[in-house]
Symmetry: C2
């Protein structure tokens, strides 16, 4: 068990290192502590903290830096979230100032403000498109052999895909098909659409639409998969380059690569989980992120749908500040989005 003084020294050490990015020595600490102990005393404590695995040295005669275990302890027990400065709150709230009408816009904007405010990279995931509810379906013919299928969801999201239509098809058949689709599929979630399409509409189409087979087939193909990556929004991708912790070009490239790959996103932003989570260094599943810390938080958009936010920075991240910021934003975002879609 750590003594009061050890806790204090650990806290101050981590705080100092987070702020300065320089190993912290006993002299510095001695000056900084409220109850000033001599450097020698502090050296003893530092040695003990190192023995316990909370601190590390970069080389034999250097000051101490927090180990991952140290950061973890700091985050779990020593984090005293202080209220955000007013100007930060103002800037965060500015997201909702200009009445944006689209979820997408608000999230985009949040990503930008977050990265400005934190100087780290922000990744935001919008509510899962696949759970949106179909509000309207339409088919607009473009040429002899192509048409565009448009699906509007309850959130105002619009999916659209060009598909080919069998040449020489009777235009009224397309209209009929549109009507049938709307009758049967409005109210269905996008991820069920495919299934329902066959169950509910195929037999009816058969009765009313000539050459339904070809048309149905290409249409079905078109609505098969919503673009999965268009739901990810980034802010401050280049902020990584600002961090003194990252100097190895190779690692930077790896990191940026991983973050942009849509397929890695679920590893960074655990989709299901609620609340705020902090992953430090090797606690991240992706090895490219072993030098990073990631703070994630979920927000909800009503109707049991959630989105999530991640801030990616160095392990030497300003945890206190980021936690406060994310707490505030996730709340605000939830409120705003719920307000927007209360009537849909």
């Amino acid at each position: 068990m750590l003594t009061e003084r050890q806790l204090l020294i650990l806290k101050v050490t981590v705080d100092d290192y987070i702020q300065s990015a320089q190993p912290v020595g006993s002299n510095q600490l001695s000056k900084k502590l409220e109850t000033p102990f001599s450097p020698a005393t502090i050296r003893n404590e530092l040695a003990e903290l190192e023995r316990l695995g909370f601190l590390e040295k970069t080389h034999t005669s250097s000051g101490r830096i927090p180990s991952e275990k140290g950061y973890r302890y700091y985050v779990d027990h020593l984090l005293t979230p202080r209220p955000l400065p007013k100007e930060d709150i103002v800037q965060l709230r500015s997201i909702f100032e200009e009445k944006l009408t689209e979820t997408e816009e608000i999230i985009k904007r949040s990503a930008m403000i977050l990265s400005e405010l934190t100087n780290y990279t922000s990744i935001l995931l919008g509510p899962d498109v696949r759970r949106h509810i179909v509000k309207n379906l339409s088919i607009v013919p473009l040429s002899q052999d192509t048409a565009v299928a448009i699906i509007v969801t309850n959130t105002g999201h619009v999916e659209n895909r060009v598909f080919s239509i069998p040449p020489g098809l009777n235009p009224s058949d397309i209209e009929k098909m549109t009507n049938i689709l709307n009758e049967r599929l409005v109210g269905v979630a996008l991820n069920n659409l495919h299934l329902r399409l066959e169950q509910e509409t195929l037999s009816i189409l058969k009765q009313h639409v000539e050459r339904y087979g070809e048309l149905f087939h290409t249409f079905r193909q078109a609505v098969l998969l919503p673009h999965e990556d268009e739901n990810i929004y980034y802010g401050g991708k280049l902020n990584i380059l600002k961090q003194p912790d990252f100097h190895d070009l190779h690692k930077i490239r790896n990191l940026m690569d991983v973050m942009e790959e849509a397929k890695h996103i679920p590893m960074i932003l655990p989709v299901g989980s609620q609340g705020l989570h902090i992953r430090i260094g090797s606690e991240n599943t992706l090895t490219a992120m072993e030098d990073c810390s990631v703070i994630t938080v979920s927000y909800d958009t009503g109707k049991e749908q959630t989105g999530s936010i991640a801030i990616v920075g160095p392990k030497r991240m300003d945890y206190k500040r980021i936690v406060s910021i994310l707490d505030l934003l996730s709340g605000d975002l939830s409120k705003e989005l719920n307000r927007m879609f209360k009537g849909t």
Copy 2:
């Protein structure tokens, strides 16, 4: 005027430096030349080429590297485009293999393939959305007070925007409005839409739609500006980090910053111009790009619409190869897109 031999030496020097990124010395050149002159002779020529401003030294006793003037001369007079290797052609043509139905998809894919093939960054600009022709307009109500306006263009592009509707409006009025808009605005280009909206539809709406004022106002607001930056596609943004020429993190950040800013894009990709252009180093308008060369080419999509492609790399760029690649791709792209939209 340069002698035959000087031309040869200049060409080989540039080629060699492009390939190795190392200053080129007289010994190396002597070995590499077909008619082998002694290093001493070559030194004399190099000195002359330097005096004329085509070559530079990094320090007094180093080999030579091309100056901007040198690159310019090389590009203008010494570039002998050789046919692309087969595998490159195969990879380029693979863009059109899987029959993509949307312009956007094809361009996205081109950006990716280009960056893979060149190891530089590619920026592609799609055909100017504002010149697309309205094919269909529709309004889908989402809730009591919001609706989404959807505009489909002849290219299959779909613009959509959520806007608010005055509460308590008669739903049939929205339908009426949609009909009127379709009657009057189909066939109009997006950039004229705003003007035509007022000229053609306002008076008719007045007659048929109750409380047309509020509805018209918010709808008008919604279709005001298409998102201008959604027409830019990047490939291999991180390839910059691969180039040995770029090591200064600060410059890299500036460069990447500039490229991602939509407002700078017109400076990189001159929208109006036809054909292939090469800008070397300080020939670029943006100071952040003074260490880069940019090769741009336009492609056409029929109906007098054009898009453009840029490859951004170091001044020490493989001009020969990139020019060949862009030549081929712009042709293929034009053909394919023209084919796709011949019937619209």
